[in-house]
């Protein structure tokens, strides 16, 4: 059907407003940061150090917790067991609670006077004010993104293919690694990217468990509190640029997988 469609035009207008709402503040921030300011900030040791810290802690958090999250997602997709719905709901809790509250909960769990804290101390691992604590806080708030994406990925793999593989003499482990995992990989990769991005942008939970060493979101907050908007802004711009570069690169990588598959 062609011709004038007022409703469609109205929807496009609404979409335009929404896009503007996301783009305008970001664009304003970029426009108000001069190239000289940008490069000076990027060269600052404290800024570069905090960006590096944010990148590697969020990546490590994603990789370590993926080792448990991916097999667990397969169980959620394939097996029937009591309280399955309750367990699925528990996984989503970090998404709905305030992240400062999540930080308080984690701190209470890993502080030096708790069992976990004492065990960590015993192993020479402290969680408060350390990268290990940052990793825990990041993982806590971002794990639902991976579990949910991986579970949906496994659900989309026809169970018949797993059965066929078993019938062809493969062990359950071989079936998982050669059939289930490769076929769900696209969703899992997307979940990994989302988990990593969410961990990297976390502020509330991390600032409570580890104010120092400073990840970039905490550094931005600290500069804003101590020196004001114009000092915080260039750090934010540099950090956003770094995130975007990684995000675009990983998205392209996952699209490549998509094309190779289809």
């Amino acid at each position: 059907m062609t011709g004038f469609q007022p409703l469609k035009l109205f929807f496009v207008f609404l979409g335009g407003l929404l896009l503007l709402f996301v783009i305008a503040p970001l664009a304003g921030m970029f426009l108000e940061t001069s190239p000289a300011e940008f490069f000076d900030t990027a060269m600052e040791k404290e800024v570069a150090g905090s960006i590096w810290l944010t990148l590697w802690t969020s990546m490590l958090a994603t990789l370590i917790f993926a080792l448990a999250a991916i097999p667990f997602s397969w169980i959620l997709a394939r097996k029937k067991f009591p309280l399955k719905r309750v367990i699925s709901a528990i996984i989503d809790i970090p998404v709905v609670i305030p992240h400062s509250a999540a930080g308080i909960a984690i701190l209470g769990f890993v502080a030096r006077d708790t069992a976990v804290g004492r065990l960590g101390d015993h192993l020479g691992l402290s969680f408060v004010g350390t990268p290990a604590g940052i990793i825990l806080a990041m993982a806590f708030v971002s794990i639902p993104f991976l579990v949910n994406a991986a579970r949906d990925g496994f659900l989309a793999v026809p169970e018949k293919l797993e059965k066929a593989a078993l019938n062809l003499g493969a062990s359950p482990a071989r079936v998982f690694f050669t059939v289930s995992l490769p076929l769900a990989w696209r969703s899992i990769l997307s979940g990994l990217i989302m988990m990593w991005a969410r961990g990297m942008s976390e502020f509330g939970a991390v600032v409570i468990v580890a104010y120092h060493p400073m990840i970039t979101p905490v550094l931005i907050y600290e500069r804003f509190g101590s020196f004001g908007l114009s000092y915080a802004r260039p750090v934010a711009v540099v950090f956003i640029c770094v995130c975007l570069v990684f995000f675009v690169f990983l998205r392209m990588l996952s699209t490549k997988y998509e094309n190779a598959d289809g």
């Binding site: 026809p158 018949k160 293919l161 059965k163 066929a164 593989a165 078993l166 019938n167 062809l168 003499g169 493969a170 062990s171 071989r174 050669t178 059939v179 490769p182 076929l183 598959d261 289809g262």
Partner: protein, 352 residues
């Protein structure tokens, strides 16, 4: 000794139930389980393969109870209805998949894959992805893959049903070839023609159990299930030989006599069927275009789902479906002398 014995197999899966399934398959036999869709045929195959747990009863393979055996060690190969090829592997890798479990070296795997591909006529497809294969090609790959582990018994879940006529013929001939090499096969289908063409023996599954087993003519001529009985026509099911006849018609010779058939099939052994609805019963010889006309005697009248089924002895027993009005008009009763006529084009010849 039997190759496969299924004894008192029962399972309840939601609303669906298998109720004491019993059957036996001899070594090298081509056993077809025939039943309507939803009769539990696929579930039965998966239970035999160990893919659905929780069934009671016994499954014996070559004298050994495999009911509690691990899926991987059962010695049965299963081909799923839609082939279930791994979409992320090419044809070669699909066929090599089971061989990798045997820890063979690459050269041996390559040799075995090529051997299987040669037998199933898919050598040219080895580098292709499953997404680019036709339905028939997929089934060939699935067969090659299932045969790689040399299963003692091959289980086929409606492998032909979704294919078009030409592909069906080709796949049937491949299945016959595999069976002729000594492979025991259990094949489930809802298609009686497929059963007639392939089976050395047929089992009919209805309401969750096997209600009849036997050779094709026996099962079709004396059905013990509503499902088979509903194909009234198939009771007129005879084995014999098609020969060249006069003009455009061919002759079919069987131990009950000779029938004219209009068919494009080449001469050779096979079956004929005539639907009960296509038989005309008359008091006297009926001059018409019907090339087949035989005198006979009514031996029984049985109420059918619609109308009445009249069994007429013309040397063999023919089953005709007529209306109740015709029964009273012709005053049909056991012992009545009648003529049975049908057109040569109403006779269906199935080579095999």
């Amino acid at each position: 000794m039997k190759m496969l014995t299924v004894k008192d197999l029962s399972v309840k899966l939601g609303k669906f139930e298998l109720n004491g399934v019993n059957f036996e398959v001899g070594p090298g036999e081509y056993f077809v389980l025939l039943g309507v869709s939803g009769a539990g045929k696929s579930v039965l195959l998966q239970i035999i393969g160990g893919l659905i747990p929780g069934a009671s009863g016994v499954v014996m393979l070559n004298g050994k109870d495999i009911s509690r055996e691990k899926v991987q060690r059962r010695g049965v190969g299963l081909v799923f209805q839609d082939a279930a090829l791994f979409p992320h592997m090419n044809v070669f890798k699909n066929i090599a998949y089971p061989l990798r479990s045997l820890k063979l070296n690459d050269r041996e795997i390559d040799r075995r894959v090529r051997e299987l591909a040669d037998m199933t006529n898919i050598t040219k497809l080895l580098k292709r992805n499953p997404a680019n294969l036709s339905g028939g090609e997929k089934q060939r790959v699935a067969l090659a893959r299932a045969l790689a582990l040399k299963p003692q018994c091959l289980l086929l879940d409606e492998p032909i049903s979704s294919l078009d006529v030409q592909l069906r013929r080709e796949l049937r001939s491949l299945l016959r070839k595999i069976n002729a090499n000594g492979q025991t096969i259990v094949h489930v289908t809802h298609d009686y023609e497929e059963a007639a063409l392939l089976a050395s023996r047929i089992g009919v599954i209805e309401n969750g159990s096997v209600v009849q087993t036997g050779k094709a003519p026996e099962v079709f001529s004396r059905p013990k299930s509503e499902f088979v009985a509903n194909f009234v026509g198939i009771r007129n099911f005879f084995r014999g030989e098609l020969r060249d006849g006069k003009d455009s018609m061919k002759k079919f010779l069987f131990d009950g006599g000779e029938v004219s058939v209009l068919t494009g099939e080449p001469e050779g052994a096979g079956y004929i069927t005539v639907r009960g609805e296509d038989l005309i019963i008359s008091e006297k010889r009926w001059e018409s275009s019907a090339a087949n006309s035989f005198p006979g005697r009514v031996i029984a009248l049985e109420p059918a789902r619609v109308g009445t089924e009249v069994l007429v002895d013309i040397g063999v027993t023919l089953s005709a479906l007529v209306s109740k009005e015709s029964v009273s008009n012709l005053q049909l009763e056991p012992g009545s002398k009648v003529w049975v006529s049908f057109k040569a084009s109403a006779v269906k010849f199935i080579p095999g």
